[in-house]
Amino acid sequence: MPEVEIRFPADQVCSGSFRLLELPPDLCRLIESSVDDPSLMIKGGPEDDAVLCTSDKTYNIRSVTLSNSVLVVSPVPHIDGGEDQVIIQDSLNELLELVPAVPKLHRMNVMLQEHEWEEGYEEEDEDESLEGIFKAKRKRFTLEDAQIELQASEQEIAQALKEKHMLIIDGALRPLSPTYLHKILELLLMHLVSLSQLHDAASVLELSRSLEYEHEVRREVTLQVMRWFGEVDVADERWKMDVEKVVRQVGLGILCQHKTDPISEDEFIAKWNTAVGDTFASHTSLKLLTGNYLCAPSPFSTSTKLSYFPCAELPTDPAMRFADLFLTRERWKAEEIVPYLSDIAVDTKDLDKLLLKYARALTDKEGLWFTARAR
């Protein structure tokens, strides 16, 4: 029976250089199938919990202590006549586990707070002499910075930039202010009609030109807004508007003025229909705004009152999210609370786990309710 000698290394090998990483099936497939670099990276600052990012997914890295010790052993080149030998490279008591995670993008909002692109203030940027001192203080924040700073994969970051309406102007990321965005969209809708353009094949050039000349909206801003809310055919210079997205955003723009004083549902829908115009009025539906409003029965009439309550402004930490939710309302219908949790859960299973951990379920004749766990 062949024997193999196990030896300690003869030379000083720096121990602690090995790590064991448990691979979820999808990641294992990715590594095996990739011919060259699958662009895996570990991201995080000194205070963060590290995450592992593929090109489109993010995983939390968890360290698991093992009670047994695991020896990493490697063979040495076979010497003729001698016995087979292997060398203990390292002894490990720890395993790294990967858990699918929600990309950690909330930091982007904080970092870009003061970079907001506001109507009427654009010129400040061009006026170097006046703004010189101020500008030196606020550092430019580029896409590359975002890739380094944010604990999320490349594709997730690109997606978030689109969803959070980040302009890229002269290489720097600038969030577009919601009110300005609302105005640009209204202008686009208006000019679609006045220039008699088709919404699924509108001329990019004509739209952006009239917005620039008549309303001083920079062309690059218009173009990026068009990209967020539809597809721009580069060769053809045509914009295919995503009707649902535009209608939704216009609705949000109206709703966000009603954070503290609620608006009746009928009045809101009427306003919304006017804002999007006759062509798209049929697309307005409260369903589009799920996760952004609360409705409460009005005390004096049969209609319900809506108030603006955006999911995006709630804390991302689950415990704090639930605390906020239950401060806003003591009890939540199951179907009402789910939209406010979907962005912090990886999948529905994860969402159920969160509800189980932080909320108490109650069933009565109206259905399933959730209340706070601890009083």
Partner: protein, 159 residues
Amino acid sequence: MIIPLTLPAKSSPGSPALPPALARLGSSELFLLELQGELEVSGDKHGQLVGRLTIDDTNDGKGKPTLRIGHHLLEGKIVSLPKPLAVLQRVCAPPPPPPAPPPPPLDENGDGDVDIQPNDTKDDDKVATSYAIRTLIRKKIVFSKRPTPIVGLSAKMSS
């Protein structure tokens, strides 16, 4: 901060394969050996013999590994891992090619050089660390039982 994970160049010539006796562990260049407890060594351990590993193939095709450390015999088994493991190794990257060495100052004093030096090394430290995925592992050898003493082998061992 970003630490890249890199894949090794396919079939790098420098890495020897596992000895034929261990072939049933797979074709990777590393394997894992799990022990209950630790290997405790006193004194200088460099290059010292730890023990002898045998994999008995005769037993119903499963392979029964045994490990002899001194007068102790450990019996183990080959376990398939529920999830594959990637073995990562920290790589201290080879120093990046020096950015166009500055012309040696002939007449001037050497202050310039001294100022540049520490800055450079700092930057290098920042970017150097990366982890290489050495191999993927699907099976390991586990020795979970207590060692049994070997009697009567001492004469043979010492010879």
